[in-house]
């Protein structure tokens, strides 16, 4: 491959950069929300770390 400046190729990338970062943030925000809900729903239920023998 010859290294060269390919503006046409580059102009296809902003969409991927924008929606890519957005996609990663959305997925992780949903996981964030799920952790908050889980923590709220199961706080005080089940064994705590301190009750469980560590591996």
């Amino acid at each position: 491959m010859n290294i060269h400046i390919d503006v046409e190729n580059f102009l296809k990338t902003p969409e991927v950069v924008l929606f890519g970062m957005l996609g990663v943030f959305i997925a992780l925000l949903v996981i964030y929300g799920a952790i908050l809900l889980l923590s709220k729903a199961f706080s005080g239920k089940g064994k705590k770390d301190s009750d469980v023998t560590k591996d």
């Binding site: 190729n9 929606f19 591996d55």
Partner: protein, 376 residues
């Protein structure tokens, strides 16, 4: 006699260069303790694959194709993405998501620190790499070997050898790459920000449900990532369920070790001189560095951005731990924090961001596949 030594005449300077590269990888693994589990097998494999008419790789001799064992392993374990996925079971079993579950805000740094992937993708495209190869090069910034292999292989990139070498080398070089970048974009005052760690107990139920729910969420939002995240989370479930300790131990040790041995030496099948000794390889290695640098910048700047609105200030160095090089990056941040103030312990925050990076990098890989596939 001439027949016996005819192979000597087949030696080319590019092969000798690959032996030197193999030797350097072995030296880095042994003398510098840099990712030895992968660099050593890769280094040895690079020598093995570049001996003249090496029987370890497929050769066409007198018109007949002689299949080499490294290519057999590649087709059996990497071309179908099996080895990276199996390795992820082991990695999942090794990871304690406790610091993240205690402080889920750290997930955001995991997301921000994937910026280098997309930045490098755009830069590689500007330099003329086609979009498949640009995506494969960008994913070096996932700072996560299996994800890099998965994406590069998915796109059938010709540069898979260089990409894997760059990914694993830079993961080992995180302690050298990150500190100067962080110092460049933070002030001393910012680096001194204290973040008291509030120890929160995470119930076993949450620890068990987390891998299941995360798999479901990622599977729905970024289905291309579901195999990677699913195997990662399956390994974690083995660990957290507490009733499969033997399997969890096997995943962390025997499975991970066995796959790592095969993975390292198999990648060498793509380090043949005709595929590797090119200017492109050098460019890819430089682009890999760009990816790691901009991952770090993304994480740090996002932490600074959050500080504009947050009452509880975040030490921006923690943002840099959002890259997936686990646990190297969190240790680097912890040490940097201690260097600035010996009583400032950032380890648990950084560990939270670091394991978040592990999830985020896999998601980024899936998102990248989905978006780039639409363009090609």
């Amino acid at each position: 006699m001439a027949d016996i030594f005819s192979n000597v005449l087949e030696i080319r300077w590019e092969m000798v260069l690959m032996w030197i590269i193999g030797g350097v990888l072995i030296w880095l693994a042994i003398a510098k303790d840099m990712e030895p589990t992968l660099l050593l097998p890769m280094g040895f494999g690079a020598i093995l694959a570049n001996l003249p008419t090496s029987g370890a790789v497929t050769q066409i001799i007198n018109g007949n194709t002689e299949v080499g064992v490294l290519d057999v392993l590649f087709n059996a374990g990497i071309a179908n993405e099996l080895f990276p996925l199996l390795l992820f079971i082991g990695i999942g079993a090794m990871i304690d998501f406790g610091p993240l579950l205690s402080n889920p805000k750290m997930l955001l740094f995991g997301a921000a620190a994937q910026f280098g992937i997309f930045f490098t993708f755009a830069l590689a495209a500007l330099l003329g790499f086609d979009l498949k190869d640009a995506a494969s090069i960008g994913i070096i910034g996932a700072a996560d070997g299996p994800t890099s292999i998965f994406v590069a292989n998915y796109f059938n990139s010709n540069y898979i050898g260089a990409i894997i070498v760059a990914a694993y080398s830079y993961m080992a070089l995180v302690p050298i790459i990150q500190p100067p970048v962080i110092r460049l974009i933070t002030t001393k005052k910012e680096r001194l920000i204290r973040m008291p760690y509030e120890q929160k107990n995470v119930s076993t139920t949450v620890r068990i449900l987390f891998p299941i729910i995360t798999t479901a969420i990622v599977g729905i939002l970024a289905p291309r990532s579901v195999a990677l995240v699913g195997f990662l989370m399956f390994g974690n479930l083995l660990r957290e369920c507490k009733v499969l300790r033997i399997l969890s131990d096997s995943a962390q040790k025997e499975l991970a070790n066995l796959v790592t041995i095969l993975l390292g030496i198999t990648i060498a099948s793509k380090m043949r001189y005709d595929l590797f000794v090119k200017v492109d390889t050098l460019i890819i290695i430089l682009l890999g560095l760009v990816a790691f640098v901009f991952d770090t910048i993304g994480g740090v700047l996002f932490a600074k951005f959050l500080n504009l609105f947050s009452k509880k200030k975040i030490n921006p160095m923690v943002g840099a731990a959002g890259i997936s090089a686990f646990p190297m990056s969190s240790r680097v941040i912890h040490k940097m924090g201690l260097k600035e103030d010996p009583t400032n312990f950032l380890l648990m925050h950084a560990a939270g961001a670091n394991v978040a990076g592990q999830i985020a990098s896999v998601v980024a890989g899936g998102v990248m596949i989905a978006l780039v596939e639409k363009l090609i």
